[in-house]
Subunit: 330 residues, 2 copies
């Protein structure tokens, strides 16, 4: 490790992915790539939380099956989600007889889970690991914001929590997309207190991790076909590009944000998508397929998370954020 | 890795620990071993949550200083806590310019954090890592149960959330207590729905991990000077001993539970202590000192967590639990 950046000696491979998209998410480009498109965001369950958990179970099972494995072959499940006490991940893990590491990184969860899985595989501790996360618009909305029934109006800088989930099966050996390295994020807080403006809060964390990664790896943005951030949305992405440009690094020609591309008509969703499921869904459908087809060869996947709670915001705290990056190579 | 159990090739060392104990916690045996004893559980802060966060910052700094290092020497901070969105850990991490991995394992957090830190060190990814967690009676009480002002009476099977925190500085090389292995837990749910009886809910998870560890490592309980569970309390500990005995394994002569020993007069606290800070505090004060003095040579540290939330319980779900174990050798 040099600074924040890890280089894997035996790069683990993502051998298969599985994804599920909510009704709104299925309307956009993701609808062409996701494995399962929901017709009903309740997914046959009686509560939003159970639907979110069921999505996670569905994609974990999906990734294992698509990898030609059985549940008992997998040595590690790393997962987390946005709900208090990560109940979606914990209750999903209950269904699997697999050692479980619960993580919390808000919307950075997919990158954190991928990184941890890769470290265990690189260290030779497990033969196979699954990294998974998801989110649900309705469960997030009622936990973090207002009851849906109130019909509150969202401010223009707000994002829309993605209903969806993604899981990646990683192997120590085999064919797949290599996880060649990772850059672990530090907690960065620029003093943003507007809980409706996560993009602005998270952009400095994304910039911090991307700049650290490029410096420590000796690479330039051009070394990547794509630098993909998690869910900064349109406004957050513009701020990220400004922040990196201020440091003399121009990522504008090969940067894309999962929150910006997840929805078809972005105007309806204000700044775009967010939520732990946002980057997980985009990675485990569209991005993985593009890499599998060698249309993208080297991608820096930078999932970003806002580490606030309703209590911290209620007590007047600003929003600490984090971004973890993993380098993916086809 | 054999099953759930990891053996480290280059066992990382716990080179220093730091701990802080609340007023009630200072009255018992911990008061003789903890670095800092609070005179006021608010720790000079205006909210319980800020006090909890400040305790974490205090012990992280304490472990780094006692290890003769500076903050910038540390390559990784692994931490989590009981609060929604682990705000204590995330806000504590904001104060440090150190790569941060947020975890959620409820009261199993100390073992999970130690295990993750050890995996990163064993893999050669960082030279030093800090594993830390804590809890605060008042912040946990108002999040999980009732406002303190209501003066609700606790049922006899309840435990008392520990106000305290512990941090361990781990190094790839150097003198200290070796982390020679770890056994990652699976999520176990025996169908307990009583949120006041965490000990009964968590005991099956502890039994599952301990039995897996002994089987996979080829060891017997007698190979350990102590098998320490996190916070099962008195009732949970009895259930654990019954469950392991049913499987032909008798741990009764060398088992102790952090929740049972953390308080002086256990009758006042019903079944004893709980909370992420319980096992962290006991490990980073009493247990570490006993190991440093070679009064204990090999300890299996098994922190247990109940992965419920107020939402999951409100929706009628039972309590999924987990226990992670790390092997410590002086």
């Amino acid at each position: 490790m040099s600074g924040q950046t890890i280089t894997f000696k035996t790069p683990p491979k993502i051998v298969s992915v599985s994804s599920i998209a909510g009704t709104k998410e299925s309307e956009g480009i993701i609808g062409k790539y996701a494995d399962t498109l929901l017709k009903d965001d309740m997914f046959g369950e009686t509560t939003y939380e159970r639907a979110e958990c069921k999505m996670l179970i569905h994609v974990i099972d999906g990734a294992i099956k698509k990898g030609g494995l059985k549940r008992e072959d997998v040595g590690l499940l790393v997962s987390g989600d946005l709900l208090n006490q990560i109940i979606s991940a914990s209750f999903a893990a209950r269904e699997f007889d697999i050692p479980f590491l619960g993580v919390y990184g808000a919307c950075s969860t997919m990158a954190e889970s991928l990184c941890l899985s890769a470290v265990f595989l690189d260290g030779g501790h497990v033969p196979y690991a699954v990294a998974a996360t998801g989110s649900h618009f309705a469960s997030a909305e009622r936990q973090y914001r207002y009851p849906l029934e109130l019909g509150c109006i969202r401010p223009p800088q707000a994002q829309w929590t993605v209903t969806g989930a993604g899981a990646a099966l990683l192997a120590r050996e085999g064919e797949g997309i290599a996880v060649t390295g990772a850059t672990l994020g530090k907690v960065v807080d620029f003093g943003v207190t507007d809980v409706n403006n996560m993009g602005a809060a998270m952009a400095p964390a994304a910039a911090d991790t991307i700049l650290a990664h490029l410096k420590e790896s000796g690479r330039t943005p051009e070394d990547y076909d794509l630098i993909v951030t998690g869910d900064l949305g349109a406004l957050g992405s513009r701020i990220l590009k400004d922040l990196t440009r201020e440091k003399g690094v121009d990522i504008s020609s090969n940067h894309v944000d999962c929150g910006e591309i997840v929805y078809n008509v972005i105007e309806d969703e204000y700044q775009g998508g967010s939520g732990a499921g946002c980057s997980a869904l985009v990675l485990c459908s569209y991005l993985f397929e593009k890499m599998r087809m060698r249309q993208l060869k080297r991608v820096l996947f930078v999932a970003t998370g806002a580490l606030l709670s309703t209590v911290s915001s209620g007590q007047g705290e600003s929003i600490p954020c984090i971004a973890h990056a993993v380098t993916l190579e086809a």
